[in-house]
């Protein structure tokens, strides 16, 4: 299992989410809606592409100037919440 499958929800599930620039997120299958901050929105947009954990962390680091280890921890934590909410 690659790190994408281990850490993140499957790409098809994330790809179905409708993302608004305001941070409003709608799941058209479950009917649930969520709100995320700018970092969460950027992360969801990255996850809608077939991107691995290292690429996600690098992309976020380039944009938000965090330390790689901290970013990786935050990404994994966010992904865990995502997996529990969106199935």
């Amino acid at each position: 299992m690659n790190d994408r499958a281990r850490v993140f929800p499957d790409a098809e599930t994330v790809a179905r989410l409708a993302l608004s620039d305001s941070g409003f997120v709608f799941d058209p299958v479950s009917g649930r809606s969520y709100s995320v901050n700018a970092t969460g929105l950027a992360l969801l947009r990255l996850l809608q592409k077939p991107t691995g954990l290292a690429e996600v962390v690098a992309a976020l680091q380039a944009r938000f100037k965090g330390e790689a280890a901290t970013l990786e921890r935050d990404v994994i934590e966010f992904a865990s919440v995502l997996r529990s909410q969106i199935k």
């Binding site: 409708a18 709608f26 058209p28 299958v29 479950s30 009917g31 649930r32 809606s33 199935k87």
Partner: protein, 395 residues
């Protein structure tokens, strides 16, 4: 240019109490928005306080029906009287409790010139709550076990038979309560039996989220125009107060298999629970449009209009592609009712209102008479207005 011919549709279920509204008013609203003044809508109700009967923008006239418990003959006699005045071309029943009689009466209604678009009696019976497991086995759809219960003692002894709490206690037509122990089970049993009669049904609890689908089956095992909805806010009775359209192929596939297994014809609402693994379990099939059906108009899939086209033998109209992410929020609104309108319904069972010239949606005619000629009709019968209260201060 010739005007398009006008036609007359009667719709039942004009009750609209906020915690549990009937679907009739939403169906009438869909028809009005689809056809404008080309459709004459006849609102049919069982209570003189059914608010839809007084909303002239949707109902061109209104009549009281006799309660289903009064028997088929009384219902048919009453409909024949209304038909003599209104020339009903299509009848859309919207309440579960009246469906068995309406379905049985469909051939006699057809002989009178009143179309319906309904399943036959045998098909209707195959989707009653106690028969859902049998149907689901045939359709390959998940379904929790359901058991008819004739005594409250079941809830004390059920664990010995492999039942566990929580479970759901249901009436044959309406009402569903989640109970967590024998005391709650017995209380729900007595309350539901008192209101809806026996048998009361016990259904195994499925943990998950409820999803609803409405559509129209064409009688050739095809489901048309399905609209899927997730409730976002509930009334005290668990009815949708707000909701949002969704699209899940798995839910659509389940509904299609059920329609095919039943060879269903007419409107329906499929209520399903989606468990944590994403599997669907059938909870109920309602043989009518749901009260949230106006959402179908909101997403370009006006299902009452689709049914009307099919009932008149016309091809199904083109519908918009499924549009997940459209919300509705219901609200309560008062309408001002002249006491004379209330009097007409309570005393004679019929209400034909003068037209509001400012309302472009209303008909140019009322009961077939030109505007200004008066829309009153003399009822050829004395109406039993069911639960309606006696007039206050009768002389």
């Amino acid at each position: 240019m010739m005007a398009e011919p006008r036609f007359t549709v009667a719709v039942t279920g004009m009750n609209a109490q906020p915690e549990n509204p009937g679907p009739g008013l939403a169906v009438a609203r869909c028809l009005r928005e689809a056809y404008g003044p080309r459709v004459r809508i006849i609102g049919l109700g069982y209570d003189a306080l059914d608010p839809g009967l007084y909303l002239g923008e949707y109902c061109d006239s209104a009549h009281m029906l006799s309660y289903p418990s009064g028997g088929s003959d009384a219902m048919l006699e009453r409909l024949a009287g209304i038909h003599a005045a209104e020339r009903i071309e299509l009848l859309i029943p919207c309440l579960d409790a009246e469906l068995p009689q309406m379905v049985s009466a469909a051939p006699r209604l057809a002989a009178m010139g009143i179309r319906t678009f309904l399943p036959d009696a045998q098909t209707l019976a195959r989707r009653t709550k106690d028969r859902l497991p049998e149907l689901c086995a045939l359709a390959g759809v998940g379904c929790p076990e359901i058991k008819p219960v004739a005594s409250a003692s079941f809830f004390r002894n059920c664990q010995a038979d492999g039942w566990s709490y929580p479970m759901v206690v249901k009436g044959p037509f309406y009402d569903a309560r989640i109970v967590r122990n024998a005391e709650e089970g017995a209380a729900a049993f007595h309350a539901i039996a008192a209101e809806w009669g026996l048998p009361v049904l016990a259904q195994r609890f499925v943990a998950g989220e409820e999803y609803n689908l409405s559509g129209v089956a064409d009688g050739d095992a095809r489901l048309l125009g399905e609209v899927m909805m997730k409730k976002r806010a509930l009334t005290a009775k668990g009815k949708a107060w707000a909701g949002v359209t969704i699209y899940d192929q798995g839910l659509a596939d389940c509904a299609r298999r059920l329609v095919q297994a039943l060879a269903w014809k007419g409107p329906l609402e499929v209520e399903m629970m989606r468990d944590a693994a994403g599997r669907y379990h059938l909870i109920e099939i309602n043989p009518r449009f749901p009260s949230w059906i106006y959402l179908s108009q909101g997403v370009g899939r006006n299902l009452p209009a689709l049914l009307t086209e099919l009932a008149f033998g016309r091809p199904a109209p083109a519908l918009a592609a499924p549009r997940p992410g459209t919300m509705f929020i219901r609200y309560a609104l008062e309408t001002i009712v002249p006491l004379g309108d209330f009097e007409k319904l309570i005393m004679g069972g019929d209400l034909s209102r003068e037209l509001d010239p400012k309302n472009p949606l209303q008909n140019e005619f009322c009961n077939g008479k030109p505007r200004g000629a008066g829309g009153e009709i003399s009822p050829p019968f004395v109406m039993n207005s069911g639960r309606s209260p006696e007039p206050e201060g009768a002389l």
